[in-house]
C-alpha cells in the first residue's frame, strides 16, 4: 500500500527516451542544467547525459555568497565524473542590489529572487550553448508547491516530475549518483542552515506516503487517517496541494472569444513533430 518502490531500469529507460525524444524532435541536440549540488539536479543531469551524451550537456553552477561550500563541490563531482562543459557564475552581484532595497526583506523573498535570477542565467545560457533547459522539480515539491514560480520550476521539459523524492533517491542509487549527494539532507540552500525537511516541518519519507495515497491511490482523507496518519498532517498536506494548484498551471486567460487559448485551442506541444 505504501510501496513506492520503482523498477529503476524501466524508469531510467523511459526518462532517457523522453529527454532524447523531446529535445531532438524540436531540432535541438543539447541540454543545460542548473547544477545546484543537490540530488534533483544531479539526477536530471545524469539522465540528460545518458540521453544526449556528455558532450551535449552543459552544467551551470550559480552560487550566491551564502551558498554552502559543499553545494559547489557536489556539483563539481558530477561535472568531473562526466567531464561536462560547465560554467560558474556568482549570482551575488545580480541578487544583492534588489535585496539591499529593503532591509526588512524576508528569507522567502530573498530565496525567490535567487531562484529567479538563476532562471535568468540558465535561460540566457541556452542561447549560448544552443540547448534546452532541463527541469529539476520532483513530484513531491510540485504537489506541495515547495518551489518558486518562474524560478526553479522553469524548464523546457521535466524528466523527474512524476517521481516522489523517495523514488528519486532510489533511482539515484541505481544510476550511480555520487553518494555524498544522495546522503546529505535535501536543501534549497537559499539561506544558511536551510533544509527542506526543517522548513516543511515533516520528512519526505512521511509526506511521500500520504501523497502517494491521496494522489496516486485516490484515498480519501479519512482513509489516510485510518492508515495511521494524523488528521492534522493529512489536512496540512491536502491544503498545500490545493493552495499551490496555481503553480502547476499557466495563468488562466479570461474568455471572450469563441476560441480561447487554454480552453478550446487545444494542441500538444509536440504538434507537427
Amino acid at each position: 500500500m505504501f510501496d513506492l518502490t520503482i523498477n529503476t531500469d524501466v524508469a531510467h529507460q523511459i526518462l532517457v527516451g523522453f529527454i532524447k525524444s523531446e529535445v531532438t524532435r524540436v531540432g535541438y541536440s543539447r541540454a543545460l542544467i542548473n547544477l545546484s549540488g543537490g540530488l534533483d539536479s544531479a539526477i536530471s543531469c545524469v539522465l540528460a547525459v545518458d540521453a544526449l551524451g556528455a558532450e551535449n550537456v552543459f552544467a551551470l553552477r550559480l552560487p550566491y555568497r551564502t551558498s554552502a561550500k559543499d553545494s559547489l563541490e557536489h556539483a563539481q563531482l558530477i561535472i568531473d565524473k562526466y567531464r561536462l562543459q560547465s560554467e560558474t557564475i556568482d549570482i551575488t552581484d545580480m541578487v544583492d542590489p534588489l535585496i539591499k532595497r529593503d532591509p526588512n526583506m524576508s528569507n522567502t523573498r530573498k530565496g525567490n529572487i535567487m531562484a529567479r535570477v538563476r532562471m535568468i542565467a540558465l535561460y540566457d545560457q541556452t542561447e549560448v550553448f544552443k540547448g534546452l533547459p532541463i527541469g529539476t522539480s520532483n513530484k513531491t515539491e510540485i504537489l506541495l508547491g515547495y518551489s518558486t514560480l518562474w524560478g526553479d520550476m522553469a524548464s523546457a521539459i521535466n524528466p523527474i516530475g512524476d517521481l516522489y523524492k523517495t523514488q528519486i533517491r532510489q533511482l539515484a542509487r541505481a544510476i550511480d549518483v555520487p553518494a555524498p549527494i544522495i546522503d546529505k539532507p535535501p536543501s534549497a540552500d537559499l539561506w544558511v542552515g536551510q533544509t527542506d525537511e526543517g522548513e516543511l516541518g515533516f520528512t519526505y519519507e512521511e509526506v511521500d506516503k500520504v501523497l502517494y495515497l491521496l494522489v496516486d491511490q485516490r484515498y480519501s482523507p479519512q482513509e489516510c487517517v485510518e492508515e495511521g496518519f494524523s488528521e492534522k498532517f493529512v489536512n496540512l498536506v491536502i491544503t498545500r496541494i490545493r493552495r499551490n494548484q496555481f503553480k502547476r498551471m499557466m495563468p488562466p486567460i479570461a474568455k471572450l472569444s469563441n476560441r480561447t487559448i487554454g480552453y478550446d485551442f487545444l494542441y500538444l506541444r509536440d504538434w507537427g513533430t
Binding site: T5, I6, N7, I14, E22, L268, G272
Partner: protein, 283 residues
Amino acid sequence: MKLNLSLAQIATKLGDVEANLEKHLTYIKQAKRQGTDLLVFPELSLTGYVLQDLVASVAHKPTEDDPVFKHLLKASRDLDLVVGFVDEDARHRFYIASAYLSGGTVMHVHHKVYLPTYGLFDEGRFFAWGDSIRSFDTRFGRVGMLICEDFWHASPPYLLWLDGADIMLFSSASPGRGLTDKEKLESARWVERVSKAYASMFTSFVAHCNRVGFEDGLLFWGGATVNDPNGELLVQGPYFEESLTSTEIDLNQLRRTRARLPLLRDERTALVQKEMDRILSRV
C-alpha cells in the same frame, strides 16, 4: 494454411500524415521483402494519437482517389494491410478507424466503439462513437478488428467471435503508465493479460500492435504480441522502440485446438440472448 503476420510498432509524427504515410510505405516495403502476408499498423498510425484540435485537418477517406489511401491501396496488392486513421463520414463526423486493405480494395473499416474519456484520455470530446462490431472475410479466413479501448471491454471480442472471427487484430496507441517495482508497466501487463485471455477463451489467434514513441510526456510502450488459439504467446516485440515483429501462424491450429477444447461449439448463444433480453428489459 500458414500466414506470415507482421506487426509494425511505429512511432508517428503528430498531425503529419504525409510523413507517417512515408513511414508506412517503408515498413510495407520491408515486410514485403521478408514475405509478409498481412501487416498490421497501430491505432491512428497515419496521424498520431493526442490529436485534439488537429482531428479535422488529418481526416481521410479510405477511397482510391484519396491522396493517402491511393498509395496504401496500391501497396495492398502485394500484401494485406491494416492501417489506423481518422475517418470522416459523409456528414463530417470523425471516427478513430482501422481499415483492412487487400488486393487494392478496402475490405472493411472499423470505427472505434469505446472512446475512453477519463483519466488521461479525452477521445469522446473529439471523436464520434462507432456503432458496429463486425467480422469480415479475408483470404486468410474471417477476421475481426478492434481498437484499444474496444478490447478493454469484454463484449466486442465476444461479438467478433460469434460473428465468425478466428483471427482478431487489435491495434492500440496505449500510453505507458503504472510504474511499480515490476519489470513491466501496469498498462502493458493489463493488455498482455487480456490478449492472452481472449486467445484462450475464444480459441482464436489474437494479435496486438501498439505504437511506440512519445507525445509530450506520454510514452507508448509497443510490445506487440501474437497469441495462438491455445493462449500461447508466439512472438513479442520489444518495449519502447520501433520494430517489425513477425511470426508465421498456422491456421490449422484452430482445428487442433477446437477439436480438443470445443468452447465455440458449446457456446450457448440462445441462453446468452435470453438472459440479455431479461437483464436489459429490467432497466
